[in-house]
C-alpha cells in the first residue's frame, strides 16, 4: 500500500472489528455537522406515501408537508403515473405555536374527511407540535366517532429519532391496522406472501424494477403476493396481511421491523435475508419463502429453470472474477454489504468495502448482524475524507484516496463496483443505471454478469474527458462527484428521478 494512502486511513480491517469498535465506543459513529440524513418525519412519511387512498395530515407548519409532497408525491406522479395526491398540513403559524393548535387539528381532520373521503387519515406530528405539546392522541381519539375515515397518529417529530426510526415506527404502527389471522382467511392466503419493506408508492411501469422481479419470482414458484407493504398497498391488503404464509423482507433492515412485529403479534413467519443480489442470496430468499409456502419442489424447479437461463454468461463472469479483488463503494451500507455478499459467495472474489461510514454500523445493525452470522466478514477501508467535516469539499480527497488505494492494484485483477462518477483506472461496474434493472434474482445476476463483461470488454476505452470534467471541474478547488448532488448522489439509481431536482438530485433518499 502506498505511503500516501497509509496516511489517510482511519480504519482498515474487517466488518466485525469495525462493528465491535463502534459498539464499544472506540470509533466515532456520529455523522458530521455537515452531513444530514432525512429526519424521522421524512422517513415516516415516505412509508405512509405507499398506502393507497390515505391522506397524510401533518400537524405543523406547512413546509414539512410541502417538502414531503414535492419529493415523494410529485415524484410518483412523474415516474409512476400516479394521480395528484395531497399532503395536508394544519399550517401552524406563530399564533398557533403560542396558543396551541388543537382546534386547528380538529378542524383539519374534519375537513380532510369531507374533502378527500380517504379510507384513513394519518396524523403525523412535526417538531413544532411535538415541542408545544399538543395532545394529538387525545384529539384523534375524540374525533374517531365523528368521521368516516380511520384515524392513526404517527409521532414522527423530526428531532425524535435518527433517520431509520421513522421507517421502524410506521411499520410497527401499520400492524395496528391488521386483523388477527383467522382460519378461513389463512386458508385463502395459504399460497400468498407479503413483501415487506417497500415504500413510497407504485413501481414504475416502464422499468424492470427489483420489486417487480421479486413478485415475478414469487409467482414463478406458484405463489401469490398479497401486498407490497408499503408500496402502493391498500388498507384491505394490510388488514388481511397476517394471514399469508410468510412475510418476505425486501430490505433486511427496513423490512425486518414490520416482519418482526408481525411475527410477534400474529405469528406470521418471516423470511429475512440480505438483499437478493446474485444467485446465492436469491436462492436463500426463495427457499426461505418456499419453506413456509410448502412449495419447496416447485421452487427448486423454478430456480433450476431460472439458473439455466443465465448459466452461460453467469459462469463466464464467475470464471473471470474468481480470486480477483472487488472494491465496493460503501456509501449505501445495505447495498454495499449485499453486493459484497454476492461477489464473495457467487464469484469467489476478495471484497474490500471502501468508505463505509461508521454511522452505518448503528443504522444498519440488522444487516450487519445477519452478514456476520452467515460467516461473512468483508474487509472495510475507511479514509479520512469520509469522516471529514464539510464532506462536499472533501470528496476530491476521498476520490484521490480511492485512486491512491487502487493505484496499487492492477486493472487485470481488480474491479470497482460503484458509481461511474468515480474515475479509477480499473474497470468500473455501476449497478445503479436504469438499464441494469432488475438487479435482484437470476435476471439480476445475469445483469451483473453482463455489466461486468461489458466493463471488462471496454476497459481499453479511456473514461470520457467530458464526464470527468463535469464531475471534477477544472480550477474548482475541491469539486467532486458529491458536488453535483446534495447527498449521496451515486446511491440514487437514475430511475429514481426525483421530481424537479432532476436525476439523483435529492437528499431525501
Amino acid at each position: 500500500m502506498s505511503e500516501s494512502i497509509a496516511d489517510s486511513i482511519v480504519f482498515h480491517g474487517h466488518l466485525g472489528e469495525l462493528y465491535r469498535l463502534a459498539k464499544e465506543g472506540k470509533i466515532k459513529t456520529g455523522l458530521q455537522g455537515s452531513h444530514t440524513r432525512p429526519c424521522k418525519f421524512w422517513t415516516a412519511t415516505k412509508i405512509l406515501s405507499g398506502i393507497k387512498n390515505s391522506v397524510i395530515l401533518t400537524h405543523g407548519p406547512s413546509g414539512c408537508a410541502y417538502g414531503v409532497k414535492k419529493t415523494y408525491k410529485l415524484t410518483n406522479c412523474r415516474n409512476s403515473g400516479s394521480m395528484y395526491e395531497p399532503v395536508v398540513s394544519t399550517n401552524m403559524d406563530e399564533e398557533k405555536v403560542i396558543y396551541g393548535g388543537e382546534k386547528e387539528l380538529k378542524g383539519a381532520i374534519m375537513e380532510v374527511d369531507r374533502k378527500y373521503h380517504p379510507e384513513i387519515i394519518f396524523v403525523a406530528t412535526s417538531c413544532a407540535t411535538g415541542i408545544i405539546g399538543d395532545n394529538v392522541d387525545a384529539i384523534v381519539e375524540k374525533m374517531r366517532a365523528g368521521i368516516h375515515a380511520k384515524l392513526m397518529t404517527i409521532h414522527c417529530e423530526g428531532f425524535a429519532g435518527e433517520y431509520r426510526s421513522g421507517f421502524d415506527l410506521v411499520y410497527r404502527q401499520l400492524t395496528k391496522l391488521m386483523a388477527p389471522p383467522s382460519p378461513d382467511m389463512k386458508l385463502k392466503l395459504a399460497d400468498s406472501v407479503n413483501i415487506v419493506g417497500g415504500k413510497m408508492g407504485p413501481e414504475r411501469t416502464e422499468v424492470d424494477t427489483d420489486v417487480k422481479e421479486l413478485v415475478r419470482m414469487i409467482e414463478g414458484i406458484g405463489a401469490r403476493v398479497n401486498a407490497v407493504i408499503a408500496g402502493n398497498c391498500s388498507l384491505e391488503q394490510i388488514r388481511r396481511a397476517p394471514n399469508v404464509a410468510v412475510n418476505c423482507a425486501l430490505c433486511l433492515d427496513i423490512g425486518y421491523a414490520i416482519g418482526h412485529a408481525m411475527l410477534e403479534e400474529f405469528g406470521t413467519p418471516l423470511n429475512s435475508t440480505i438483499l437478493p443480489y446474485g444467485v446465492s442470496a436469491t436462492e436463500k430468499w426463495l427457499q426461505g419463502a418456499a419453506k413456509y409456502l410448502v412449495m419447496e419442489e416447485s421452487a427448486a424447479a423454478f430456480m433450476s429453470r431460472e439458473y439455466d437461463a443465465v448459466r452461460n454468461e453467469f459462469e463466464a463472469a464467475k470464471k473471470f472474477l474468481q480470486g480477483k479483488i472487488a472494491i465496493v463503494e460503501g456509501h449505501d451500507a445495505i447495498k454495499s454489504l449485499s453486493i459484497a455478499h454476492m461477489l464473495e459467495r457467487d464469484f469467489g472474489m476478495r471484497v474490500v468495502i471502501y468508505n463505509f461510514h461508521p454511522w452505518s454500523t448503528e443504522a444498519r445493525e440488522t444487516s450487519i448482524d445477519y452478514l456476520l452470522e452467515t460467516g461473512m466478514d468483508p474487509e472495510i477501508l475507511i479514509t479520512k475524507g469520509t469522516l471529514a467535516f464539510g464532506k462536499y469539499e472533501s470528496m476530491r480527497q476521498t476520490e484521490n484516496e480511492l485512486l491512491s488505494f487502487i493505484g496499487g492494484f492492477s486493472p487485470e485483477n481488480t474491479v470497482y463496483f460503484g458509481s461511474s462518477l468515480s474515475f479509477p483506472h480499473i474497470p468500473v461496474v455501476d449497478l445503479n443505471a436504469i438499464l441494469n434493472r432488475p438487479r435482484f434474482g437470476y435476471r439480476g445476476a445475469l445483469k451483473v454478469a453482463k455489466c461486468i463483461q461489458t466493463a471488462l470488454e471496454y476497459s481499453f476505452r479511456p473514461r470520457s474527458w467530458l464526464t470527468k470534467r463535469i464531475v471534477f471541474p477544472q480550477n474548482a478547488g475541491f469539486a467532486s462527484a458529491q458536488s453535483l448532488t446534495p447527498k449521496l448522489g451515486q446511491d440514487l439509481p437514475d430511475c429514481t428521478v426525483y421530481a424537479e431536482r432532476r436525476r439523483g438530485k435529492c437528499m431525501m433518499s
Binding site: 394544519t90 403559524d93 464539510g390 462536499y392 471541474p473 478547488g477 424537479e500
Partner: protein, 448 residues
C-alpha cells in the same frame, strides 16, 4: 372587477404548494457569496435549506452549510453548546467572511437566544455572525424571503451620496420561472443598455461588498410581485431609496414589456434607448412568429384557459394570453397573496374589460377544485397543474412554471421579447403533444 372564488373546508387544512419561511430565508442567504450557514435544527430541515440552494443551482463546492442535528435530548436540555461548537467548527473549516446562524422551528420554539449566542462567541470566530430566527411557522417561502432580506438591512451601509444611474434589484428568486436567473440576466442586460449600473442584487451571486454598498443606489427594482415589498419599504425609510416600477406588471408579453421598458426609460432619462429596445423586440417577435408560428392564431383564439401561477409571472400572463394570443383567461389562481399584487391585477382586469374567477393564496386542493369547477380547455402552470389536469380530463396543460416536468439545459428567460418566445415555444410543443394520436390501430397499417 373579478369574481373571487370561495372554497369550503379550507379553514383549518392546507395542501401546500409553497415551501415554508425557512426555505425563503435560505434562498436569500444562498444568494450571497462567500458566506456560511449554520442551521440550528433537526436534520430534516437541511433538506429545506438544500432546496433553496438548489433553486440558485449552487454547486456543492460553494455550499457551506452545517446543521446541529437536534435530537430529543437537545430539545429538552437545550443545545446552545452544540451550536457554539458547530459555529466555531464551521468558521475554522469554511473560513467564510460571514456565517448566518439560522434557527428553525425547533430552535425558535424552545427559545434559543441566537442573537445573544452570536454576540457571545463573535470574538472567538473570524466570520461575522448574523443570526436569523426562521421557524417554518413564521410563514411561507415568500414571508421567509422578507425575513431573510430584513436580516440583510444591518449589513447595508448608510450613504447620503447616491449614484445617479444605479439600481438594486430585489428578490429575483421569487419567480416561478424554473430558470429565473435568466429573467434577472435579461433585466441586467436591459439596464446595461440604458447605461444604468446594478449596484446589488438582493440576493443572487452577490458579494458582501456589493451588499454593503446597496445604500448608494438611486432606485430599487423589485423583480417579484410575491415578495420583497416590505423590504423595499424599509429601504426607502432607512436609505431613502425609492421603489420604482412596482405598480405595473413585470415584463411578460409584448405590451407589458414595452410598458415596463418605457417606465424604466422615463425614470432614468433613457427614453430613446427604451423606444429602440421596444421596436427591435416587437420586430423580432413578429418576424419569428410569422415564419414559424402562424398556427398560434387559429390554435389559441378564444381558448378558455386557467392561469395557475405566482403573481410575478401570472399577472403579466393575463394580458399576454388575452390581448396578444386572443385566449380567454377564465380562471386566475395565484399561490401568494400580497395587497400589491391584488391591486395590480385588479387594474389589469379592469383595463382589459374581463372578469375571470380569481383566487389568491391557493393550495393544492383549491387549484384542483377550481380547475374542476370552472369550464376551461387549457391550463398554464407547473407540473402540479399538469397532473391535476390529466386526472380531471383537461386535455391541454402547459408545463411552464416550477416545479416543472421538463429537463432544461439552457437558461430561458420569460421576461422580455425572447422570454415571450421561450414561453410560446413550450406552449406550442405541449399543445402539439396533446393532440398526437395515442391509440393506433396497428392492424390497419399492417394490412396495407
Amino acid at each position: 372587477m373579478h369574481d373571487e372564488l370561495i372554497f369550503e373546508n379550507c379553514d383549518h387544512s392546507r395542501d401546500p404548494v409553497l415551501g415554508c419561511a425557512l426555505e425563503g430565508v435560505a434562498s436569500i442567504v444562498a444568494g450571497i457569496q462567500d458566506v456560511g450557514m449554520v442551521i440550528h435544527s433537526p436534520q430534516g430541515c437541511a433538506a429545506t435549506v438544500a432546496m433553496a440552494f438548489d433553486s440558485h443551482e449552487i454547486d456543492f463546492t460553494r455550499r457551506k452549510v452545517a446543521c446541529t442535528r437536534l435530537f430529543e435530548s437537545d430539545i429538552i436540555m437545550g443545545a446552545s453548546e452544540k451550536l457554539i461548537n458547530l459555529v466555531k467548527e464551521t468558521d475554522r473549516t469554511f473560513k467564510n467572511k460571514a456565517i448566518f446562524v439560522v434557527g428553525t422551528c425547533a430552535a425558535d420554539i424552545i427559545g434559543e437566544n441566537l442573537e445573544g449566542l452570536c454576540r457571545q462567541i463573535q470574538p472567538e470566530v473570524s466570520a461575522k455572525l448574523i443570526p436569523i430566527v426562521a421557524g417554518g411557522f413564521r410563514g411561507n417561502i415568500y414571508d421567509g424571503m422578507e425575513l431573510g432580506l430584513k436580516a440583510l438591512l444591518p449589513l447595508i451601509k448608510k450613504s447620503e451620496i447616491k449614484k445617479q444611474k444605479s439600481v438594486n434589484i430585489i428578490a429575483p428568486q421569487a419567480n416561478l420561472n424554473p430558470t429565473w436567473f435568466a429573467d434577472l440576466k435579461w433585466v441586467i442586460d436591459i439596464l446595461y443598455k440604458m447605461e444604468v449600473e446594478v449596484q446589488a442584487v438582493l440576493a443572487h451571486n452577490t458579494s458582501l461588498e456589493e451588499l454593503e454598498n446597496a445604500g448608494t443606489a438611486a432606485a430599487n427594482i423589485l423583480l417579484s410581485h410575491d415578495s420583497g415589498f416590505a423590504f423595499a419599504k424599509r429601504m426607502r425609510e432607512l436609505h431613502g431609496i425609492p421603489l420604482i416600477l412596482a405598480d405595473i406588471p413585470l415584463p411578460v408579453g409584448l405590451k407589458n414589456t414595452a410598458r415596463w421598458l418605457k417606465a424604466l426609460g422615463i425614470y432614468f432619462d433613457a427614453e430613446a434607448q427604451a423606444e429602440q429596445l421596444i421596436k427591435d423586440g416587437d420586430d423580432r417577435v413578429v418576424d419569428i412568429l410569422r415564419r414559424r408560428a402562424l398556427m398560434i392564431i387559429p390554435r389559441y383564439r378564444n381558448c378558455k384557459i386557467a392561469i395557475s401561477a405566482d403573481a410575478t409571472i401570472g399577472i403579466g400572463l393575463v394580458r399576454l394570453l388575452f390581448e396578444e394570443l386572443e385566449m380567454i383567461p377564465e380562471l386566475i389562481l395565484f399561490r401568494s397573496q400580497t395587497p400589491e399584487s391584488r391591486r395590480i391585477l385588479e387594474r389589469e382586469l379592469k383595463g382589459l374589460g374581463i372578469s375571470p374567477r380569481v383566487a389568491f393564496g391557493v393550495d393544492g386542493f383549491q387549484i384542483q377544485k377550481a380547475l374542476q369547477d370552472v369550464e376551461i380547455s387549457a391550463v398554464i402552470g407547473s407540473a402540479w397543474e399538469k397532473y391535476m389536469a390529466e386526472e380531471l380530463g383537461i386535455k391541454i396543460a402547459f408545463d411552464v412554471l416550477a416545479p416543472t416536468n421538463r429537463d432544461i439545459y439552457l437558461d430561458r428567460a420569460y421576461f422580455g421579447y425572447e422570454g415571450m418566445l421561450n414561453m410560446l415555444e413550450i406552449v406550442g410543443n405541449d399543445w402539439e403533444k396533446t393532440f398526437r394520436s395515442k391509440e393506433i390501430d396497428w392492424e390497419e397499417f399492417q394490412s396495407c
